[in-house]
């Protein structure tokens, strides 16, 4: 279980408890976080669950396929860019904050 906070492009903070193993894209969609679509369902085809993870590196680095997609996500890639479908909730992520880029 981890408490996750999304900061939307509009500045709204949405916080939810996310069960271990649930990825942050699914959790965002379940909590109707604007800007997270996840249309490929975690298949790493669409980059519509792009987030910026705040500066600490608890989530690790993107893998090669993920990195390719991030280069061409709608919002520019920058430090901390991840596809949130590739981050699964676990206790050490408790309190994590991720920023959601503008949806368009």
């Amino acid at each position: 279980m981890a408490e996750v906070t999304w900061i939307t492009a509009g500045g709204e903070r949405i916080t939810a408890e996310v069960g271990d193993g649930v990825n942050l894209m699914e959790a965002a969609v379940a909590n109707r976080v604007p800007g997270i679509v996840g249309e490929c369902g975690g298949g790493m085809m669409c980059a519509t669950c792009h987030v910026y993870v705040e500066s600490d590196h608890r989530t690790g680095e993107p893998g090669p396929i993920e990195a390719d997609l991030l280069d061409f996500a709608d919002a520019p890639r920058r430090d901390g860019s991840r596809l949130s479908c590739q981050i699964s909730a676990r206790p050490e992520l408790d309190g994590i904050t991720v920023e959601v880029p503008p949806a368009w």
Partner: protein
């Protein structure tokens, strides 16, 4: 509340009797009632269980273990035996490779195809697509009136597919005819003779794809078939040569029927909502938003299919093992549970992009980013060149009548005098 759980009852249900799968007039009104009264119902005419609510459609897409994709491209009518024999005798070795395969085969093939069919590659084609669109737009300049289908949206997407295939010496109209034939064979209601004629053309089409792959074996280029051959590296466990031919065949079909309709419907919808058109003229940065709302509001691919592998309950209705399932994407995109005032066209709604027009999950459309690029470029160029464009009044264009694809077959516009170009 007319919950339907048995076929004989379903056949008498007013909801099912109002379902006209091949005629898209009034379809949204029908589905609005269906979502209220019988969100999952059995349709006898087609032998499909029709799923209308967004949550249910989504849960089917998310559950490839219990819902097979094997029937996605099945012919609704079935082939006459004479045609099956002809195809077998003529080396027509089409096998399922993408949309109509299940795991693990699907994963293996999709991973290879995704090495080329991905957003990064598509972006590289953007300048060439823009140049192509400008060619068509320049052809419209100086005219008062034009049929936007005949002069732009029909042919252009086929030429984008040619770019991916590295083909430059083929009449795009031939590909369009082949693709329309194929769509009619799958989703339409052709007569026996029409089916046989279309099947003969389909065979030509398949052999055309075979020739492309054969050619790239000896003279590789920077294109999709060459990339697939490179990935294969002679190893059947990666991809067989026949699978590569089938991937090329699939791309030629998938790449433009839906895009043609998506483009035409976008232009139609925006011109019908003049205020929005003017907004885009003033601020073209809103175009991507407008595209998502068009895809939600006026879905070009109305339905998609699955087959239940075991008994599954959805909205209180049990779909039996083996049951054929028709997912109404158009209905899901108008579900009141997700969208406020779903029949309003509003490019400022916050959640338009949650539409299911490209599917969802492991089979989500691989061409979606390319379709979005094409739609964006066409709208940008048209709006820039003809900001005063308007619909010719009083026209009633014919719409394609298949169970999946939906789009006007012509669209007359007045181009307007104020040319920024």
């Amino acid at each position: 509340m007319a919950v339907v759980d048995q076929r004989p009852t379903a056949a008498r249900c007013p909801v099912t009797s109002g379902f006209r799968p091949f005629d898209h007039d009034g379809t949204y009104e029908f589905f609005s009632m269906a979502r209220r009264e019988a969100p999952v119902f059995y349709n006898e005419e087609t032998d499909y269980w029709v799923v209308t609510k967004r949550e249910d459609v989504l849960s089917v897409f998310k559950d490839p273990e219990r819902f097979s994709a094997s029937n996605v491209l099945d012919s609704l009518e079935g082939y006459p035996e004479e045609l099956t024999r002809f195809l077998t005798d003529n080396g027509f070795t089409v096998e399922p490779v993408q949309s109509n395969t299940d795991r693990p085969r699907h994963t293996r093939i999709r991973q290879s195809a995704g090495q080329f069919l991905n957003p990064r590659r598509y972006r590289e084609y953007e300048p060439r697509i823009r140049a192509l669109v400008r060619e068509y737009v320049n052809g419209l300049r100086g005219k008062d009136e034009a049929d936007i289908v005949a002069e732009l949206t029909h042919e252009m997407p086929a030429r984008v597919v040619f770019m991916l295939l590295g083909v430059d010496d083929v009449d795009p109209l031939m590909i369009k005819r082949w693709a329309l034939n194929r769509a009619t064979m799958i989703w339409g209601k052709p007569t026996r003779q029409e089916m046989i004629d279309a099947g003969h053309e389909l065979n030509d089409f398949f052999h055309f794809c075979k020739e492309i792959v054969e050619d790239r074996k000896w003279a590789p280029r920077d294109d999709y078939p060459s990339k697939l051959l490179e990935l294969r590296g002679g190893d059947d466990s990666v991809l067989t040569e026949n699978e590569i031919v089938c991937l090329v065949f699939a791309l030629l079909l998938a790449g433009h029927e839906a895009v043609t309709n998506g483009l035409t419907i976008s232009i139609l919808t925006l011109l019908e909502n003049r205020g929005t058109w003017e907004e885009l003229v003033a601020d073209p940065a809103l175009i991507p938003r407008a595209i998502e709302e068009v895809l939600r509001h006026s879905t070009p691919v109305m339905t998609w299919r699955r087959r239940a592998l075991e008994d599954v309950e959805l909205s209180g209705v049990t779909i039996p093992a083996g049951g054929k399932v028709l997912l109404s994407l158009a209905s899901a995109n108008h579900d009141e549970g997700q969208y406020e005032r779903p029949s309003d066209f509003d490019i400022h709604r916050p959640d338009a992009r949650g539409h299911l027009s490209f599917g969802y999950g492991i089979h989500v459309c691989m061409g979606a980013p390319l379709a979005r690029i094409e739609m964006k470029i066409v709208l940008e160029e048209l709006i820039n060149a003809f900001p005063g464009m308007e619909l010719v009044k009083g026209q009633r264009p014919a719409w394609t009548k298949t169970m999946a694809h939906r789009g006007p077959q012509s669209l007359l516009v007045r181009l307007g005098g104020s040319d920024h170009g």
